[in-house]
Structure formats: structure tokens, C-alpha cells
Amino acid sequence: MSEKPGSGPSGFDRRAFIAAAAGSALVPMAARAAAQDANVSAAQDPALPVDVTLRVNGKDKRLRIDARTTVLDALREHLKLTGSKKGCDHGQCGACTVLIDDRRVVSCLTLALAAEGQEITTIEGLATDDHLHPMQQAFVDNDAFQCGYCTPGQIMSAVACVKEGHAGSEADIREYMSGNICRCAAYPNIVAAVKQAAPEIMKG
């Protein structure tokens, strides 16, 4: 590092602060003043931490993160919600698919800052009271996975696929589930699972 500690624009030792915050990214309430300061400075240096509140699976999560942090990395590296997977980080594979305000999005191409104020639903938020969501149960029943790495993304995508009205036929399911790669190629079983769960999900 060429920069000396304490030489930041506000005189605040950001390097030491980042080092301390990196391990447990949840910010204590006492850091509020520093947080505001950080958000102002972020406009000048993208590497400075910013405060963001993400609503994940119905709960507000306050984070202090690099402004370039994606929703995926915020979930995985900062909130320890590792169900959403990184398969390409380019929006090409779909393993990171989550629902944001009920729309399926690739969380690797969505900045955490851009998701503030929206409802993020991940695979961890799908089951309720220890009961599997109908789509999760359908994936089990139809053996719709092998290694399982793409599965959280497939399931989130499948839930949205049904709600979008794109699960009316097998051909439709195949088309509208083609944004999610399964390298084990469980595709026929995935289509069968979506078909099985669709009526139950539409029923509500």
C-alpha cells in the first residue's frame, strides 16, 4: 500500500476499518456516523465502503460493503447465505438466480446497491416451517438434480417461470427454463418437476 494510514480525505483510517469490517460485514449501530461519511466518499472512490440495507427473505440486513459488490457476493460473502451459487459471474449460467420483487434475476449481474429497498428471495427463504416449497418437493420427487450446484438457481427460476405463466406446456417449460444451465443435464427431470409443481403453485 502506498497510502499511509489516516491519510484518507476525512482523516479516517479506512484501510484499518475495512480490514476490521471484512470479517463480519454486519455493521454495528454505533458506526452510523462513520457510515454516513463513507457513503459520501463513495462517490469519489468506488473502493470505499458504502452502507446498504438489503431485505432478504423478509428480514432487513444492514451491510457495509464495497460499492461494486453484487447481490450474489453480498449474499454469499457477507450474509453467509451460500445457497445461491457462483457458476460464471457473467449472467450466463443462472446458478445465482434469486427473486427480486418476485422477478427472477441473475444476482451476479445485479449490484447490491441497486437492490436496496426491494424484496430479495433466495433458496433459503423458499421453504416455510420446515416444509419444502412445492417446487423443492417436485425437484426431489423427480430427481431433478445430480451434483446439485445449479439447483438453487433452477428452483428459483422455476418458481418464477410458473408465476410468469410460462409453464403451460413442456415445450414452454423447456424454453423458459433454458437460462439455467445444468451441466449434469438433469433437464428432462427438471421439466417434469416444474410440470408437477406448477398447478400447486398457481393454486397459491
Binding site: 500500500m1 502506498s2 497510502e3 484501510r15 475495512i18 471484512a22 470479517g23 472512490d45 473502493a47 464495497d66 461494486r68 459488490t69 457476493d73 460473502e77 447465505l81 451460500t82 445457497g83 445461491s84 451459487k85 457462483k86 457458476g87 460464471c88 459471474d89 457473467h90 450466463q92 449460467c93 433459503e124 419444502l132 423443492q136 425437484f139 426431489v140 420427487d141 423427480n142 430427481d143 438434480f145 445430480q146 451434483c147 446439485g148 450446484y149 445449479c150 438453487p152 428452483i155 415445450a171 423447456r174 427454463m177 433454458s178 437460462g179 439455467n180 445444468c182 451441466r183 449434469c184 443435464a185 438433469a186 433437464y187 428432462p188 427431470n189 427438471i190 421439466v191 417434469a192 408437477q196
Partner: protein, 763 residues
């Protein structure tokens, strides 16, 4: 029941759902990169932008200025690591090219620097700010590039022992009534498992824990220890779930020891998440191959001469090859056979095993040629296979332990509707679509390796099975749990299985489709010992103990026989008689014909695989037959594959549900190897061009409308106690040939180079 869970036939286990199903659908299954670390630093790789030459200098000023950067490691300050031999020469490594050792660049995308920072974002930015000055040398990219060297595989690759031959090929071919000579070509392919090639390393004093997706935790543990120069007992590799392997995680890659060394120096856990494109060059791949096949036959279709010459590309330092002639020279009856495998050295990263390494390229050539021969003979291609079917392989004259090839052809043909095919090319169509039917044989050697297991049984029936096997999507947890439940006579839901941890008893590499046969045979043996102890406790007299021994079905008896003679055991009564709370057994199993050093090798991370054609007095293979329908649009030349039908016989099927899924995935892989997958190489710069999941085409749901898997009942008492042949690599073999055969049938055009894309069709 659903289509996913077929009704078991004779010699098949129950189609129970996957052991880890709930964990996988809820996101609770923890893969290596999901493991929590205490205050990790993040690593980002910098890889070379040239394929050959040297690094003159780095300019790291910009990179170092990035906020949060902790360290930048290059060859000038990298941890010193010991070399590791290639796995095929008795080592652990998938390549002997050791990055960060010198300024030399040996291939495109070689690791040349590692940036460590407080966050992933900072590490990535700094890595992008590393400036490198190179002196580049013109590289040799592939077969047709100037500067490659070519030599016979035999003598330079320790695992390639022979170019199989028998009789007098030249004479027989000259005299043959019908002759075919044809050349075939298959492309470079990358495994692209969904989970990236991540590595996390954490030290506790002098003990290292590695979280990395691996198909061989004992190999990785011992390999990293060797490179770091520390005791292997100080290294633990943990990965309870692996996000796909397909061969890419079977041998050690250079990244692991580098990250471990840096973590030690910084005294901090490090998490490396390489990018998808880096994965194309920091691990292995399937090399491109070329083949020439010569077939001579009588007018009756009987083969009289067969020659298969193959050439494969490897890196400059490593003589890797797959050498599939060991299979193609033995598949059909033929008295005069010759073959030769050559290795072409280019400026590339070292290739490695990818799902059915020898069979995918080599059977493409043979099964395409068989179809061409059938056309020359004006004979149904299924009948040509029947005429040349054999129960004795022609090279060594050894009998197959079992062979259901023609039964597979007949079952699959019936399900597919092969009889509806009109034999003439271009004779079937549907609107704008030319329709073609094609078929091909598949086979894969039955392989086994020494394996250990520990089983613990409690009085209430709760059972714990520990074995350092690997769940790469194959159903390993499930079939091991089923094996233990069946052998001990306890309910399946009382069995807990622990895999993917090198602190557990050793299992072999999850490769060569040996895992189920090896690990289940070990678990059976250990469970039988527990049963024996319990029987002894409740039947103390000698005669009864002997009888108990018989009925328990110890030793090499296949599970089916044991199951038949199984007798109920009152576990609680036995525990009371023994006066203990827990019975635990550890055991080491090795297959027939395993070398003397098998068990010591097993503990030091060397899997001694035996089987296939290397067995004494016999040869063991699983077989199958695949039928495909292809549609080629007569105007756009778009190629679709609406139907894939495969019938397979692979000894005992432990679980028809997981087996069907794996074979189904295999069929789709086979289709993909024919129509989609190829890593494109920039011929001038020897660099991979389409190194991402948008440009490297893999199948998606829309590509696979109809797949049907037929499991044939087969019993083989001559392979291993589990009676299992293995099927993970059976279904993606031959599919590529079946598709090209169907394209010929649809269009009249014979295509001998993969993949087939619409621009290759000239209707």
C-alpha cells in the same frame, strides 16, 4: 412413483430418493466455496496473455495502489514449492507445468500472479491493474501448426502399455472383399462443471485445511503435502458436496499448493474464486484427436481386418494420452487387428481425463466407421453389430465376464421404433425437416480400486458409514447408505453417511466409473464383519458360528446371492449378548488382481485401478446401445435432436433412480459432444477463444426434448462383490457417432469431424 424412479427389475436396488435431496433443494448443501472462513483474505489470479515466451517484467504500482490490497505474488516472490509428478507417472498432478516458478510461459492462461486483498472486489480490480511485459515466441497451437513434435504414445506414457494387435492386418485387409478407410476428428472440450475451480486454505498452526471441490481428496491431500514439503497427516481436504467433476477435479492442479503457501505466509485464511474463463486454462481439458480407421470385411459382413490409428494433442512437457484403442480393438470379433496411438506436443496446457476419456473420441471413429461399412454392405447397422458380436475379445482371447450388447440393441431398437426406418438416405422427411435415424454401440470398462470404510452400528440400529468417497452428483451417498442398510438389515433412514473428507478412511479417485463398485464392496465387507460379530454373540457354539458365517455371505459373494440367503438378526439381542453399546469395524477391501502395494498406495493417494481388459483370464465391460432421431432443416440446415433412446446393461444397478438420471445426463452429454461442444483455438496465438458459458455451447433444456433410458437386468458374479460395473461414463459414449450416422441417414452427407454445426451441412 414418477418416471424418475423406474420399477426395479431383477438385480436392481430400490429407486429411493437421493440421500442428500433435501439439503440440495434448500441450499443447505455446503460446497467447498460455501465453507465459512474466519476473516478470509481474497485471492484473484492473473493469467498469461501469451502462450509461449517469458515475462520480462511486472509493473505492479497501479495494482498496489488499489485500496485493500495485501500482497501480490509473482514468480519473483512466490512460495517455493516442490515439483509433483504427473499422475500417470506415479504422481498426483494433472500437469507438471509449475506456475510462479520462473519467468517462463508454457501455455496460454498460465497463472503468473496472485493478488491478495481484503475483498473480492479489490483483489479483482488490482489483478486487472497488473501490467506485464512479455517476450513472446510464436507458439504451436495444434495438429497442423508448425513446430509440433509427434511420437508414439508407447514408451513415453507409463499408463499406455501397448498398441493392441493380433494376426496379420495388412494381409487380411488387402484380401478383404469390402474395404473402408476413413478419417475422423474430435475437438478440444472443457468439462465446465458448474462449480468454479475455487480453493480455500486455512492454517491452524502447522495444520492445513483445504476446501476444494475434488474427485480425489486423498490424492489432493498427499499431493499438496508433497509440494509444500510437509507431512500428509497435517493436511485435510474437505468437500462434502462437489459441484460437478466430469474428470476435471481428479488430479491436483497447481493452484492449490500456491494458495496454501500464500495463506501460510500471510497467516490468514485465503479464498480463491477463479473466473470461468480462467478455468479453461488452470485445469485440464479433453484434447482434440484424429483417427484413421481401416475396416476389411467379407460380403457377409464379418470383419476380417481392423486398424485404428489415433493421434492426440498434449503439452510440451507431459505425454498425456487416453489411448482408446484398448477398447476399439476389442469390441468386435476380428482376427486381424492393428493399432497405433501417437502424441503430438504443442504449446498448450496439459490435457486430462474428461468423462469417458478414451471412449468418447475413439468410439466416435469406430462406430462411425461401422455405420459406413454397413452402408457399403447394404446391411442394417444393427445386424452388422450382431454378426460381429463376440463373447471373447480378439486381442488376448479372453472371455467377457458378461456382455449384453445385442440385448441392449434389441431393447433400444424396439423402444425407438427402428423398424420404421427406411434404409435409404434422404428417404424420410416431415415438412421442411429431413429426418434421420442412427444408432451406435457404447461400452465402458468395469474398473475397481482398493477402498476402505468404517461402519459403526448402535443398538437402536442407527448406523454411521465413513468413507472418503466423493459426491459429484453420482448418488454416492445414496448407494452407500442403501448398501449398509441392506447388509446390516437396518432401516435406510437410520443410516448416516459421511463422505468428502480426507480424515475419513480412504476411497479411490471418483473416476473411471469405479466408485460405486469400489466403495460399496468395501462397505459390504465391513458390514459383513459387524454381522459376523453379532451372530457370534448370539450363537456362541462353533458350528452355529460357521453356519452364521455362511449365511452372512462374507467374502466375494455378490450382494444378490448374499441377500437371498440373508437371515434376520435381532440386533438388540446381539448387543445385549455382547454387552456393548456400539459395534464399529474398519476394513480395507481390494479387488481381485490388485497389486501388492495396493493398500499403502491407497493411503498415500494413489488409486490402483484394475479391471477392463487388464484382468487376468477375463475382460469386463458394461455395454449399451443408443438410437437417435435427428432432424435437419432443408433450408436453414438447423440440426435438432428430438429423441435419444439408450438401453444399458451394467451389472447390478444399485438404485434405478440415480442410475437412470446419470445415464440420461450421459446421453445428453453425448448429443452435446456431437452437435455443440468445442473449444475453439486461435491457431496463431494458441489461445482458447470461446472460454465462457455463452460461447462454449453446452446443452440447455430446449436442446433435449426427449430422452429415454432403458435399464437392462444383468448379473455378473465375476467382477466385484457388489456386482457393479459402473455407469457414470457409459451413456455419453457412441452418441456422437449415432448422431452423425443419423445425419447421414437424413441428408446423405457423411460428416467425420465434430462438432457438426449447421454450416457443415451441404444438403
Amino acid at each position: 412413483m414418477t418416471a424418475a424412479a423406474p420399477e426395479p427389475k431383477a438385480n436392481m436396488g430400490r429407486p429411493v430418493p437421493r440421500y442428500e435431496a433435501a439439503a440440495k433443494v434448500t441450499g443447505r448443501a455446503t460446497y467447498a466455496s460455501d465453507m465459512p472462513l474466519d476473516n478470509p483474505a481474497y485471492a484473484f489470479l492473473v493469467t498469461s496473455a501469451i502462450a509461449k515466451g517469458r515475462i520480462d517484467s511486472f509493473d505492479l504500482d497501479d495494482a498496489r495502489r488499489v485500496r485493500g490490497v495485501i500482497d501480490i505474488v509473482t514468480h519473483e516472490n512466490a512460495p517455493k514449492l516442490k515439483e509433483s509428478k504427473l499422475f500417470s507417472n506415479g504422481g498426483y498432478a494433472g500437469t507438471t507445468i509449475q506456475p510462479l516458478k520462473s519467468a517462463d510461459i508454457t501455455h496460454d492462461g498460465q497463472i503468473i500472479a496472485v493478488v491478495i486483498a481484503e475483498s473480492y472486489e479489490a483483489a479483482r480490480e488490482a489483478a486487472n491493474r497488473v501490467k506485464v511485459s512479455y517476450t513472446a515466441v510464436a507458439p504451436s497451437a495444434s495438429f497442423d501448426s508448425p513446430g509440433t513434435t509427434t511420437a508414439a504414445a508407447k514408451g513415453q506414457n507409463a499408463q499406455f502399455k501397448e498398441d493392441p494387435e493380433v494376426g496379420d492386418f495388412a494381409k487380411a485387409f488387402d484380401a478383404a472383399e469390402v474395404k473402408l478407410t476413413a478419417s475422423y476428428e474430435t475437438p478440444t472440450q472443457h468439462h465446465n462443471p458448474m462449480e468454479l475451480f475455487t480453493t480455500s486454505c486455512a492454517w491452524m498452526g502447522d495444520e492445513l485445511v483445504i476446501y476444494e471441490g475434488s474427485q480425489y481428496v486423498y490424492g489432493l491431500k498427499n499431493g499438496v503435502a508433497e509440494q509444500l514439503g510437509i507431512d500428509a497427516d497435517k493436511v485435510r481436504v474437505v468437500n462434502p458436496y462437489v459441484g460437478g467433476g466430469f474428470g476435471s477435479r481428479g488430479s491436483m492442479t497447481p493452484r492449490t499448493a500456491i494458495i496454501a503457501g500464500i495463506a501460510k505466509r500471510l497467516n490468514r485464511p485465503i479464498k480463491l474464486v477463479p473466473t470461468r474463463d480462467q478455468g479453461f486454462t488452470i485445469a485440464t481439458h479433453r484434447a482434440e484427436t484424429r483417427h484413421e480407421i481401416k475396416l476389411g470385411a467379407g460380403r457377409d459382413g464379418k470383419l476380417v481386418a481392423l486398424r485404428h490409428d489415433g493421434a492426440e494433442v498434449s503439452s510440451r512437457p507431459d505425454a498425456y494420452c487416453v489411448g482408446g484403442t484398448k477398447t476399439t480393438t476389442r469390441l468386435y470379433a476380428c482376427p486381424n487387428v492393428a493399432s497405433l496411438v501417437s502424441i503430438v506436443r504443442a504449446d498448450r496446457n496439459t490435457p486430462g481425463f474428461m468423462r469417458s476419456p478414451p471412449e468418447v473420441p475413439y468410439l466416435f471413429a469406430l462406430e462411425s466407421a461401422m455405420d459406413e461399412l454397413a452402408v457399403k454392405l447394404n446391411m442394417d447397422p444393427v445386424e452388422l453389430r450382431r454378426i460381429n458380436d463376440t463373447n471373447v475379445e480378439p486381442i488376448g482371447g479372453k472371455p467377457y465376464t458378461s456382455r449384453s450388447l445385442m440385448a441392449c440393441f434389441d431393447e433400444a431398437a424396439k423402444a425407438f421404433g427402428w423398424s420404421q426406418r427406411s434404409p435409404q438416405p434422404k428417404s424420410m422427411s416431415d415438412g421442411d425437416w429431413l429426418v434421420g435415424y442412427g444408432c451406435a454401440a457404447t461400452c465402458y470398462p468395469t474398473q475397481m480400486a482398493p477402498s476402505a470404510a468404517r461402519v459403526r452400528l448402535q443398538r437402536d440400529g442407527r448406523t454411521r458409514v465413513e468413507i472418503a468417497g466423493h459426491e459429484i452428483g453420482t448418488g454416492a451417498y445414496t448407494v452407500i447408505a442403501q448398501t449398509a442398510a441392506e447388509r446390516l438389515g437396518v432401516p435406510l433412514e437410520k443410516v448416516a453417511v459421511f463422505l468428502g473428507d480426507s480424515d475419513l478412511p480412504p476411497a479411490p479417485v471418483a473416476g473411471g466409473s469405479n466408485s460405486t463398485a469400489s466403495t460399496c464392496s468395501a462397505v459390504m465387507m465391513v458390514c459383513d464383519r459387524i454381522r459376523q460379530r453379532l451372530f457370534k454373540a448370539v450363537m456362541p457354539s462353533d458350528s452355529l458360528t460357521d453356519k452364521a458365517k455362511e449365511t452372512v455371505g462374507i467374502s466375494q459373494a455378490p450382494s444378490t446371492q448374499a441377500a437371498k440367503s440373508d437371515r434376520p438378526l435381532d440386533i438388540e439381542k446381539a448387543f445385549d449378548a455382547l454387552g456393548v453399546g456400539i459395534v464399529e469395524e474398519y476394513g480395507e477391501w481390494k479387488p481381485e488382481g490388485a497389486p501388492l502395494d495396493s493398500f499403502t498406495a491407497m493411503h498415500s493417494g494413489h488409486a490402483r485401478l484394475v479391471g477392463g481388459h487388464q484382468m487376468k483370464d477375463k475382460i469386463a465391460y458394461a455395454f449399451g446401445a443408443e438410437f437417435v432421431e435427428v432432424r435437419v432443416n432443408r433450408f436453414t440446415h438447423e440440426i435438432r435432436c428430438p429423441r435419444l433412446v439408450g438401453a444399458f446393461a451394467a451389472g447390478r444397478i444399485m438404485n434405478p433412480r440415480t442410475a437412470r438420471s446419470q445415464l440420461m445426463g450421459g446421453l445428453i452429454w453425448g448429443m452435446s459432444s456431437a452437435l455443440l461442444e468445442a473449444t475453439e483455438i486461435d491457431e496463431r496465438n494458441a489461445r482458447y477463444v470461446n472460454d465462457n458459458l455463452a460461447d462454449y455451447l453446452v446443452p440447455v433444456s430446449a436442446d433435449v426434448p426427449g430422452v429415454e433410458v432403458i435399464l437392462l437386468s444383468e448379473q455378473d458374479d465375476h467382477i466385484n462383490p457388489a456386482g457393479v460395473k459402473g455407469l457414470g461414463e457409459l451413456a455419453n459414449v457412441g452418441t456422437n457417432a449415432a448422431i452423425c450416422n443419423a445425419i447421414y441417414h437424413a441428408t446423405g452427407q457423411r460428416i467425420r469431424k465434430l462438432p457438426v454445426r449447421l454450416e457443415n451441412i451441404e444438403v
